[in-house]
C-alpha cells in the first residue's frame, strides 16, 4: 500500500476543477494542482497579489521581475489574464467570487474547522497572509494534506489543536490515503488508495469515518503528466 505523492494528491484535486472555475491555489502542494488540470478544461487561476489568469512557472531565462505569485515565486500571465489592486483582489477572495479555494492544512476537524496558519512556534513571529481570507470567501474550500504527521499522529481530528484559521469551512479533504467529504453527518470517505480499508484508515483518523456505498479506488497515474496551465 503506497500513499500518494505530493504530485498525485495535487493531480487528484485538479480533477475536481471544472471548466470555467475561478480558483485560488494555496502555497505548497495546492500550487502544483495548476499543472494537472485535465486537457481541454479552461480553469482561471487567481493569485492574492492581484493576478487573475495566472499561468505556469516561466521558462528559465524568461522570468519577469514584475510577475510573482502568492509565495513570491516567479510566475506568468495567460492570454486573457489581467491585474487588479489588493483591495479588489481580496474583494474577489472574501466576497464569494472564487469557485474554489484549494488550501494546505496542519489540521482539519470533523466539523471542517481549518488550522493552517500558525503552529505557535515562540521563536518566530506568526504570519497569516491571506489564509483567513481564503478560508472564508470561496464557494468551495478544499484541503490537500498528508493524512498523518511525520510521527504518524492523525491530523484529521475531533477538534483542532492549533489555532483556527476559520471554523467549519472545509468541504473536502484530499489526503495521501483518501478523499473525504465533510458533511453535516460527519466525515464521509469517498475514495481510498488500493489496499486501504476503512478499519485501517480509521486508526489513522481521530473522528469517526463512514464509507459511502459507492466509494472508489483512489489511483492517480504513477507520475501524473504535467500540463502547461
Amino acid at each position: 500500500m503506497t500513499p500518494l505523492t505530493r504530485e498525485q494528491m495535487a493531480w487528484r484535486a485538479a480533477q475536481d476543477l471544472m471548466e470555467g472555475d475561478y480558483v485560488n491555489l494555496g502555497i505548497g502542494i495546492p500550487t502544483l494542482a495548476a499543472s494537472f488540470v485535465p486537457a481541454g478544461r479552461e480553469v482561471i487561476f487567481h493569485s492574492e497579489n492581484g493576478i487573475l489568469g495566472m499561468g505556469p512557472k516561466p521558462e528559465p531565462g524568461k522570468e519577469d521581475p514584475y510577475m510573482v505569485d502568492a509565495g513570491k515565486n516567479k510566475t506568468t500571465l495567460v492570454p486573457g489574464g489581467c491585474f487588479v489592486h489588493h483591495a479588489d483582489s481580496f474583494l474577489i477572495i472574501r466576497g464569494g467570487h472564487l469557485d474554489v479555494s484549494l488550501l494546505g492544512a496542519f489540521e482539519v476537524s470533523e466539523k471542517g474547522d481549518l488550522a493552517n496558519w500558525t503552529t505557535e512556534d515562540p521563536a518566530f513571529p506568526p504570519g497569516v497572509g491571506g489564509a483567513m481570507d481564503l478560508a472564508v470567501g470561496a464557494r468551495a474550500i478544499r484541503v490537500i494534506m498528508e493524512h498523518t504527521s511525520r510521527s504518524g499522529e492523525p491530523r484529521i481530528l475531533k477538534a483542532c489543536t492549533y489555532p483556527l484559521t476559520a471554523a467549519g469551512c472545509v468541504k473536502r479533504i484530499y489526503s495521501n490515503l483518501a478523499v473525504i467529504d465533510v458533511t453535516p453527518r460527519g466525515l464521509s470517505v469517498i475514495e481510498m488508495i488500493p489496499g486501504m480499508t476503512l478499519e485501517k484508515l480509521q486508526t489513522l483518523t481521530e473522528p469517526k469515518l463512514q464509507l459511502v456505498a459507492d466509494w472508489q479506488i483512489l489511483a492517480p497515474p504513477e507520475a501524473p503528466e504535467v500540463r502547461a496551465a
Binding site: 519577469d64 513570491k72 491585474f83 489592486h85 477572495i93 472574501r94 504570519g127 497569516v128 497572509g129
Partner: protein, 223 residues
C-alpha cells in the same frame, strides 16, 4: 501650472514627522518604493508605525529603517518572507510591536478610510485568535468582527509612469497594494521610473488618478 514632481527623494519625504503612520506598498520585493524608504531613513523620522504586507528584506528599505530603530510598530499580514532578519531580530528583542492582520483586512481597512467610512464587519478572523477582543455581530447567521478604518499619515508608493498632475500607471503584479495605499494617506508620495507629458498616459490605463497623489519623484535609470 500644477506640477507635483519634486527633484529629489529627500524633497519627496520632507516633513514626515516622528510618530507617523507610514503605508509601505508592495508584495514581497515587488512594487516597493525602496528609494523613498531609504530617503526616509536619511530624513530621520522616528517612532514610526509601518503598515505593509511583509516586513522588509536584507538591510535596505524597510529593513534598514527597522535596523536603525526607527520603527515602533509594524502592522502586517506576513512578516516571515524572504530574508526578514531585520524584523526578526527586533521582534525577538521586543524593540518593536507586531499587529498581525489578515491580508484582506489590511487592504479593506485602508480602502474604508479612503472611502470616508467608519469601519466594516468582516467574517474573516471571526472566532479565531486574531479576532479576539474585537466587537462581533451575527449577520445573516454568520459571525463577523468589526474592523476600523486605517489611515496613513504618509503613503510611499512605487509606480511606473506619472505625469505632472500625478496620474499613475503600474507594471503587472507590482500594482498590488499601491493604489489602495495611495488613496488612504494624508500625504501620498510616489517614486516612478519615468515622467511623461500630460496627456501621454492612456486615460483608460491610469490605475491611480492624480487626486490621490501629492508628490512624485523620478528614480532609477530615468532620474
Amino acid at each position: 501650472m500644477i506640477d507635483k514632481q519634486v527633484k529629489t527623494t529627500a524633497d519627496a519625504v520632507a516633513g514626515v514627522r516622528d510618530g507617523s503612520t507610514v503605508l509601505v506598498a508592495g508584495f514581497g520585493a515587488v512594487g516597493v518604493a525602496d528609494h523613498l524608504l531609504d530617503a526616509l531613513h536619511e530624513q530621520g523620522a522616528r517612532e514610526l508605525t509601518i503598515v505593509a504586507n511583509n516586513s522588509g528584506n536584507g538591510d535596505y528599505g524597510l529593513a534598514r529603517l527597522i535596523n536603525s530603530g526607527r520603527v515602533r510598530k509594524v502592522i502586517c499580514s506576513f512578516p516571515r518572507s524572504g530574508d526578514y532578519s531585520a524584523f526578526l531580530n527586533a521582534y525577538r528583542a521586543r524593540s518593536l510591536e507586531l499587529e498581525l492582520l489578515p491580508q484582506g483586512t489590511i487592504s479593506e481597512r485602508m480602502r474604508c478610510h479612503a472611502a470616508g467610512l467608519g469601519g466594516f464587519f468582516s467574517p474573516v478572523s471571526a472566532g479565531t485568535k486574531l479576532g479576539e477582543g474585537k466587537e462581533t455581530r451575527k449577520i445573516d447567521g454568520r459571525l463577523h468582527v468589526f474592523e476600523k478604518p486605517l489611515k496613513g499619515d504618509v503613503a510611499l508608493i512605487k509606480a511606473n509612469k506619472a505625469d505632472r498632475w500625478g496620474n499613475l500607471t503600474y507594471i503587472k503584479s507590482a500594482r498590488n497594494f499601491n493604489p489602495v495605499m495611495a488613496m488612504a494617506a494624508d500625504l501620498t508620495v510616489v517614486e516612478v521610473d519615468q515622467m511623461v507629458a500630460l496627456g501621454e498616459l492612456d486615460p483608460e490605463a491610469v490605475a491611480t488618478p492624480s487626486i490621490f497623489v501629492d508628490r512624485v519623484v523620478v528614480v532609477g535609470a530615468h532620474a
